[in-house]
């Protein structure tokens, strides 16, 4: 008499599909007013949002202000996130970088920014020590390393420094057209290096 074998479950480990990292799914819940989902989004993105604000703005108090604005904007406009148009992280980081840069430019309109305090375009990242981001940092560093010096400098000045590309051209003493193409070529090379899907 054969006893059918029972009790062997194929998915013994309670397979959880990227639980905790599905930002797009979390944003959909946030759009419905789910505060717990927003907490999860906060825990994943507050560090990057604050970090990018720090990079661009330097001043901790201002960076915190901008980070708060950005995160509340994520809460407010979560319904506008469209997964067909890009990743959730890119959506949030685009808002964050734009807000930080807008803040810098609004201030520049009032008082000229100190050029000498400008860019540490070297690799000295004193701001953060988070384990979570080690991998990203490593990959970004590696891919930055694959760029020409000018490409890397132009991108760092624009992204981390928050400079407009004419300002970048001024800082590097290069023609506008050159900077424009350096930034584009460099980003394309980084994109390919990091295997970011287009």
């Amino acid at each position: 008499m054969n006893t059918p074998s029972v009790g062997r479950q194929p998915h013994g480990r309670g397979h959880s599909e990227g639980h905790g990292h599905d930002l797009a799914g979390l944003l959909a819940q946030v759009a419905c007013g789910d505060h717990a989902a927003f907490e999860a989004v906060y825990d994943q993105l507050a560090g990057p949002v604050y970090g990018v604000a720090r990079k661009v703005l330097r001043d901790p108090a201002q960076s915190e202000e901008v980070a708060q604005e950005v995160l509340l904007e994520v809460w407010r406009s979560a319904s506008r996130f469209d997964p067909a148009r890009g990743s959730a992280a890119a959506w949030v980081m685009t808002i964050a970088h734009r807000r930080a840069v807008d803040r810098v430019r609004a201030e520049n309109a009032a008082t000229a920014r100190e050029q000498k305090a400008a860019p540490d375009i070297g690799a000295s990242d004193d701001v953060f020590e988070l384990v979570d981001v080690a991998l990203d940092r490593q990959r970004v560093r590696r891919c930055m390393g694959s760029l020409s010096t000018l490409q890397a400098e132009a991108i760092k000045l624009a992204y981390y420094g928050g400079y407009s590309y004419p300002e970048v051209a001024g800082l590097l003493g290069l023609p506008l057209g050159t900077v424009k193409t350096r930034i584009r070529d460099g980003l394309i090379r980084m994109r390919d290096c990091m295997e970011v899907a287009p």
Partner: protein, 250 residues
């Protein structure tokens, strides 16, 4: 001063890292709407730029978490469909919710519409009656066969609603759910065309309720109907950025 589209295409990288400003930014964003390949490239480069951002993560002050989470209780969320987003990203993302009303039942629908606009949302019934009694023009816009309802969210909370008749070149505007504009301040309505702004009047009522409908004439396609917060009595020209706006279309 127009730039070749080939040159514009080279700006995808600068755009993705927010290194464009002023006219060039406007011109590129305009171009982006007509250039699917540029949009695709921008989207990919924004993903890349985002990686630069993620790599810069830093520990925020611990107190920030409670502050942000607490603030979500006071910030109203935008509704799920494409109502125009005014402030986020400096007004760069624009979408609208447009509802075309079926012609055969235009009058009935419009009667219902004004109820939605001015009464049921907020319970300001007398304002509707007043408006209906006082203004044939408003009624005529509301019953125009080509009238559209457009909604725009306000950055201070609440919703701006416009019923626009392109044919009559008129629009009826109300706002609901907006907080008080503050001591000695008013909500003022403008028709903005290019760089010029024409005052249409003050939005009376306010508070948590709906404002009385205001009629704007000489409204042309592309004009923007906008609300600003101004000193009591209103101003000749807007002194602040709009807190809500709706762009009319043909």
């Amino acid at each position: 001063m127009s730039v070749q589209s080939h040159d514009l295409h080279l700006l995808t990288g600068a755009y993705a890292v927010d290194a464009l400003t002023g006219d060039e930014l406007d011109e590129f964003e305009h171009h982006l709407r007509q250039c699917p390949s540029c949009a695709e490239e921008v989207s990919g480069l924004q993903e890349t730029a985002a990686r630069l951002g993620l790599a810069a993560a830093a520990a925020p002050p611990p107190s920030m978490r409670a502050q942000v989470l607490d603030a979500t209780n006071r910030v109203r969320q935008l509704p799920p469909s494409g109502v125009r987003l005014v402030t986020a990203d400096g007004g760069r993302r624009r979408r609208r919710l447009v509802r075309r009303l079926p012609r055969p039942i235009a009058v009935a629908a419009m009667a219902a519409a004004i109820v939605v606009l001015a009464v049921l949302q907020v319970g300001a019934r007398h304002q509707l009656q007043q408006a209906q009694a006082n203004s044939q023009s408003i009624a005529s816009v509301l019953s125009a066969p080509d009238a559209r309802i457009e909604l725009g969210s306000s950055t201070v909370g609440g919703t701006m609603t416009a019923v626009i008749s392109a044919h009559d070149r008129e629009a009826v505007i109300t706002a609901s759910g907006m907080p008080s504009p503050g001591h000695a301040r008013v909500y003022q309505l403008w028709v903005m065309r290019g760089t010029s702004a024409r005052s249409v009047g003050l939005l009376a009522g306010g508070g948590a309720g709906a404002t009385s409908p205001v009629l704007a004439d000489d409204v042309q396609p592309g004009d923007q109907l906008a609300i600003t917060i101004e000193p009591a009595g209103g101003t000749r020209q807007p002194t602040a950025n709009p807190i809500a706006a709706i762009r009319t279309r043909s």
